[in-house]
């Protein structure tokens, strides 16, 4: 991964992603936090492109920005009287302390390990290889994931039905 462009891309993307993630934490408005979250998703998609995972990058934008961020926006807008000031709970300080300690442990482990890396880009990373792997080696988790998605769909719809709609569909 040589080249001036790759290094520049990495540092710019790292700056964007981490600043946006910090923005999710410190912004005083919940909707601003959601917009920063969307920026983080796009930054992580950029990282995926840098790591030769173009299919996953596009899937990340389609699923996270196109679907999950919209879901979060809907949830924020369907709860109008909830507090939208993005404040912290009572357990904020111990939580952040725990996160800092965990970060210290992670960073120590990362920089202390002798990673055995390869030199060039691996061979079989294209979308067709991913499709073959998903349908031959990993077909059972694939089918289970589809069942999981159906269960989530049914569950989400059932959780948000109003009592009249439930009474209408009940087996009398």
């Amino acid at each position: 991964m040589d080249g001036f462009g790759v290094s520049l891309a990495f540092w710019v993307l790292a700056a964007i992603t981490l600043v946006a993630a910090a923005g999710v934490m410190v912004s005083r408005n919940l909707l601003h936090a959601v917009l920063f979250l969307i920026l983080t998703f796009v930054g992580v998609a950029g990282f995926f492109v840098l790591l030769s995972a173009d299919f996953i990058a596009m899937a990340q934008v389609i699923i996270y920005v196109g679907a999950i961020a919209v879901l979060v926006l809907f949830a924020v807008l369907l709860t109008p009287r909830a507090s939208r000031d993005n404040g912290e709970t009572r357990w904020a300080l111990p939580g952040m302390l725990l996160a800092v300690c965990l970060a210290a442990i992670f960073l120590f482990v990362i920089h202390d390990t002798a990673w055995k890396t390869r030199d060039g880009v691996p061979q079989g990373l294209s979308a067709s290889d991913l499709g073959t792997a998903l349908l031959t080696t990993w077909v059972v988790p694939f089918e289970i994931a589809s069942v999981l998605l159906t269960a989530a769909l049914v569950g989400a719809i059932m959780l948000t039905r109003s009592p009249e709609e439930e009474a209408e569909d009940a087996l009398a």
Binding site: G5, F55, M58, V61, I62, V65, G66, A69, V70, E164
Partner: protein, 417 residues
């Protein structure tokens, strides 16, 4: 891919990439480091957007669309400014630039400023992956089709940002309606494009054009249903009539655009047309065969063929806009979830079966024509049968006005029998 008569000379206009490549090679010797990439991006932007898109967007989009819709509605379009009204886009641009772009007092200024910028992004970004001709792609990534889907998720966020930051109830209503409509129509869109991917075996747009060239058939003949579903879903993503509950002028003032004036509104309006052109170019590449025309591209430059096909598809957009009335929001949702999504699944089923049969015959060329014929008949039958199953029947002879309840419209929960 079959070799074409495109040469390597820089003056060969059948492959405009030659000129830019010669320029970039000369620049690479002079400039330091990786600065040539910036120059390449600039040339790509100038070549694709400023030379191809913007003139056709201004002329065909702003002027041509209003004129054609006017003629369809038995009235003249704009014909005052300049000869035959050809300077209308320039007059519009000047008017919008000199207008004061008001911001409401309590509105969120930063978000309101950024929303048109994010709305512009898909229309410009999409031209980076569309092949204008052989070797005339700015970024030939192997997953171009998914790039289109990824980029089409951005206007949804921009619409929501515009609606929420205006601090206006009607804007918020409009924004929520559009966001729910856009995400409803994303699922059938993905399924329709998935049918095209399964048939050609590649996700990249250059691969699609190569497939159309290798088997000398356009994807639209093999899968007409996919094109119809794509057309309806992209109309919904672009907020065009008949699915434009976004700018329903008679319903909610101007929806999410209520508080936008001046060039901010001009950006939304211009990029409506720009994104429609980009989606037409995308459809021309995937479904209509791209820059190939059954061998004609040896004499006619490929990019001319491509531009012709793009505008042909854009004329379809203009045609439906001038002809069809607007659908109601709940009718739209029912249409997407109950009608288009199962149709997309049926299409995928049929296409997968045919692809498997085709692979067993070692991709014989004649078999694809048989599949095209079978698919056309099946698509027509499927649409008709599924519409009847869903209760959509054509009105034979409407005699008197019908009320919403009798017409089968939405009945609120408390009033149902």
């Amino acid at each position: 891919m079959t070799p074409f008569l495109v040469s390597d000379k820089w003056y060969d206009i059948r492959d405009l990439g030659n000129l830019s490549r010669a320029l970039l090679d000369a620049a690479d010797k002079v400039l330091p480091g990786g600065v040539v990439y910036v120059l390449a991006a600039l040339i790509g932007f100038v070549a694709s957007f400023l030379l191809f898109v913007l003139p056709s967007q201004l002329i065909i989009g702003v002027y041509g669309e209003r004129r054609i819709i006017g003629r369809m509605q038995s009235r003249l379009g704009p014909n005052r400014v300049g000869p035959f009204g050809l300077l209308q886009p320039i007059a519009d641009a000047i008017k919008l630039i000199q207008k004061e772009a008001l911001t409401p007092a309590q509105a969120d200024r930063v978000v309101m400023y950024i929303a048109p910028i994010i709305f512009v992004m898909p229309a410009v970004l999409l031209w980076a992956v569309i092949p204008f001709g052989e070797n005339m792609v700015i970024a030939d990534i192997p997953v171009s089709l998914m790039y289109f889907l990824a980029v089409s998720a951005l206007p949804v966020i921009a619409t929501f940002m515009a609606g929420w930051s205006s601090n206006n109830k009607y804007s918020l209503f409009g924004a929520m309606r559009i966001v729910s409509m856009a995400i409803s129509y994303e699922s059938p869109l993905v399924l329709a494009l998935l049918g095209a991917v399964v048939m050609s075996g590649t996700i990249s747009l250059s691969g699609m054009v190569a497939w159309a060239d290798q088997y000398t058939i356009w994807m639209v003949f093999v899968q007409p249903l996919a094109l119809v579903i794509y057309f309806i879903c992209v109309s919904a993503e672009l907020n065009r009539t008949p699915v434009d509950i976004a700018e329903a002028e008679s319903e909610i003032v101007a929806g999410y655009l209520t508080e936008y004036s001046g060039m901010k509104w001009g950006l939304f309006y211009g990029m409506d047309i720009g994104y429609a052109l980009a989606a037409s170019g995308f459809a021309a590449t995937v479904f209509l065969g791209g820059w190939t025309l059954f061998g004609l591209e040896k004499w006619v430059p490929g990019w001319m063929i491509f531009i012709g096909k793009t505008h042909l598809f854009y004329f379809l957009f203009i045609w439906t806009r001038g002809t069809l009335p607007r659908l109601r929001a709940d009718q739209l949702m029912a249409f997407a979830w109950k009608f288009l999504l199962p149709l997309g699944v049926f299409n995928l089923l049929i296409v997968s079966t045919e692809r498997m049969l085709w692979a067993e015959q070692d991709y014989a060329k004649g078999l694809i024509y048989v599949f095209a014929l079978v698919n056309i008949v099946l698509s027509v039958g499927l649409v008709y049968a599924w519409a009847r199953f869903n209760g959509y029947r054509p009105e034979r002879s409407p005699t008197r006005p019908r009320l919403v309840k009798q017409a089968g419209g939405y009945i609120p929960v408390g009033e149902r029998p």
